[in-house]
Amino acid sequence: MQMNVASPADQVTQQLARRARWGLGEVVFWLAVLASIFLLPSRHLILTEIAILALFALSLDLILGYAGVISLGHAAFFGFGAYAAGLLSKYAIINEPVLALLVSGAAAALLGFLTSFLVLRGSDLTRLMVTLGVALVLREVANRFDWLTGGADGLQGVTIEPLLGRFAFDITGHVAYVYCLVVLFILFLIARRIVCSPFGLSLRAVRGNALRASAVGISVNARLVAIYTIAAFYAGVSGALLTQTTQFASLDVFSFERSADVLLILILGGTGYLYGGLLGAIIFKLMQDWLAGITPQYWQFWIGLVLVLVVLIGRERIGRWIAGIRASVERLFGAHGSAGTKSESSRS
C-alpha cells in the first residue's frame, strides 16, 4: 500500500466512510425485495409475516448485537405495540393506520424507556429474568383486563381504514405487503444511519468494554436507555403492523415463544451487522412453514432441535464452515457491521 498516495487525513476519512458505503450485496438484497412485490404475488401473505418478523428481529439486534443487552422478553414491546394499534383502531381513537402505527410505536418506546433501567444493572442472568418477567407481567395484564383487550379470546373488531386515506387493504394482501416493506425499509435506513454514527460507535464500545467506555467519557447508562427505547419503538411498530395486517391481536403477541423465536432468528442470521435479523427471519419463516406443512402439530419439536443443534455445533464452527461465504457476504453488504474490518471475528 502506497502511503504517499493519500494524505493521512484523507486516509482516515476514507476508512471511516468505508463503513457506511452501500455494498453490492445490500443493493442486490433490496432489489430482490422490491422485485418480490411483482414477481411473487401469490406469496405476499407469508412475505408479509417475514417482513414483520424481520423488523422485530432488527429491533432486537439493535440491543443485542450492538449494545450487548440480552433480553428474553422483547415480545413485551411487540405485544404492547400490537395491542396499542388494535385499541386505537377499535375504539376509533386514531383511524388513519400510518399515524396509528407511529403512535403505537411511541407507546412501546415509552414502555421501553420506563423499563430500560431494569437492564442497566446486574448480570446477564438478571437481565434475562427481568426482561422475561416484564413480558409475563404484560401478558397477565392483557389477560386480566379482558374487558379492554378481549382476554384469551383476543382483540376482536379491529377494522383498518385505508392507508393515508387512499390505499385500502385488500383480501390478497398486496397492499399490506407493500405497506410492511415500506415501513421496514424506512426503519432499516434509520437504523443503518444510527449504527454508522458516533452514537452507534459508542454502543459498540459499551458492548465491548463498558469500563473503558465510561473512561472515555461515555455515560453508559444513558446510551443503553436510548438504544433500548429505540429498539422498543421498532418492536412496537412491528407488533402494530401485525395487528393492522391481520386485523386481530391475541395474547400470544406477548408469549415467551415469540421472544424465543426472535432470539433463534438472530442466532441463525447473526447479530451485529443489521442484516442478521432480515436474513434470519427469511430462513426461520421458510423453515417453520416447511416444518408445519410436514407436522402441523409438532413442528415446534424441530424448531427446538434446530436450536439445540445450532448451539451445540456452535456459531464459531458454523462460522468457520461458511467463513468464506460469510466474509464475502459481509463485504458485499458493506463493512458497517459491529465486527472488525480486516480480520474474521467470532461473534460472541
Binding site: Q15, A17, F199, G340
Partner: protein, 250 residues
C-alpha cells in the same frame, strides 16, 4: 505553584481491609508526579478513587478547585481527568482509528449524534490524524485491536486517554508487560507528553520513574510514607528498607 488535583483525607475500606489510609496528595499543575510503592500498597486503588470507579469511604477529591468526589467516572473524564489501566482496557473488536475517533467524537459532543457518519463532524478527523501519528498507530489504524502486538495496544491505551484532552492524565504502569523491544516507544511517548498536561504516574520501573518524575510519593499499606523530590526519595533509607522488606521500627 497551582494545585490542579488534590485529595484530602482519602480513605477506602473494603470490609475490614484499609486499602487507602488517609491519603492527602497535592499535585501541581504541569507536574510529573510519580506514585510508587511495594506490591499491594494500594496504588491502583488510589487511581480508582481518583477516577470514580470506586467510591471513597471518607475524604474528598478536588480537581481544579472543584470537588468531584460525588461525580461518576464519565463525568470526571468530561472535566479533564483521564486514565490508562494497568491491564489494557480496550475495545477488542474496534480498530485504533475507531477507538480514537470515538474518544474525539465524544469530547466534541457528538456522543448522541445518530444521523451523521462517524468522523463527519468538523474537527474530528483533524484531531484523529495527529493522535495516530504521535502514538505511532497510523500504520495499524485499521486493524482490529485484538490482533495488535502488545506494545501497540499499550500505546493505544495511552492514546485513547490522551484523546480525551485531559488536563490531568493518570498513567497506571504504562510500561507493564511490554516486551523490551517495544518499551522505548512507550517511554519516548510519555516523555513527549505536552508540558501543560499534568501527569500522575504509577510505575515499578525505577529508571522510568527517576528519569521522568519531578516529584515522588511513596505509598505503603495505603498511606503516603514519604514524599519529595526524586533525589531525596532515592537517598531516603526508609524507602530502601520498605522495598527490601526489612522491618521498620517505630
Amino acid at each position: 505553584m497551582t494545585t490542579v488535583l488534590e485529595t484530602s483525607g482519602l480513605v477506602k475500606r473494603f470490609g475490614g481491609i484499609v486499602a487507602t489510609n488517609n491519603v492527602s496528595l497535592q499535585i501541581a499543575k504541569g507536574a510529573r508526579h510519580a506514585l510508587i510503592g511495594p506490591n499491594g500498597a494500594g496504588k491502583t486503588t488510589v487511581i480508582n478513587l481518583l477516577t470514580g470507579v470506586v467510591p471513597p469511604t471518607a475524604g474528598h477529591i478536588i480537581l481544579e478547585g472543584e470537588d468531584i468526589t460525588a461525580l461518576s467516572p464519565h463525568q470526571r473524564v468530561r472535566r479533564g481527568l483521564a486514565r490508562t489501566f494497568q491491564i489494557n482496557q480496550l475495545f477488542a473488536d474496534l480498530t485504533p482509528l475507531e477507538t480514537i475517533g470515538l474518544a474525539v467524537s465524544e469530547r466534541l459532543g457528538a456522543g448522541f449524534d445518530w444521523w451523521r457518519l462517524v468522523g463527519s463532524k468538523p474537527g474530528v478527523v483533524d484531531e484523529i490524524v495527529p493522535l495516530l501519528e504521535r502514538f505511532k498507530l497510523a500504520d495499524v489504524m485499521d486493524e482490529r485491536t485484538a490482533t495488535l502486538p502488545y506494545g501497540k495496544q499499550r500505546l493505544l491505551e495511552i492514546a485513547v486517554a490522551f484523546a480525551c484532552q485531559p488536563r490531568v492524565l493518570l498513567l497506571d504502569e504504562p510500561a507493564a508487560g511490554v516486551p523490551e523491544a517495544e518499551r522505548h516507544e512507550i517511554l519516548a511517548t510519555i516523555a513527549a507528553l505536552p508540558k501543560d498536561v499534568t501527569v500522575l504516574l504509577i510505575e515499578h520501573d525505577m529508571d522510568l520513574v527517576f528519569s521522568f518524575a519531578d516529584r515522588i510519593s511513596v505509598l505503603v499499606n495505603g498511606a503516603v510514607f514519604v514524599e519529595g523530590a526524586p533525589d531525596d526519595v532515592a537517598r531516603d533509607p526508609r524507602v530502601k528498607a520498605v522495598y527490601l522488606g526489612e522491618a521498620i521500627d517505630g
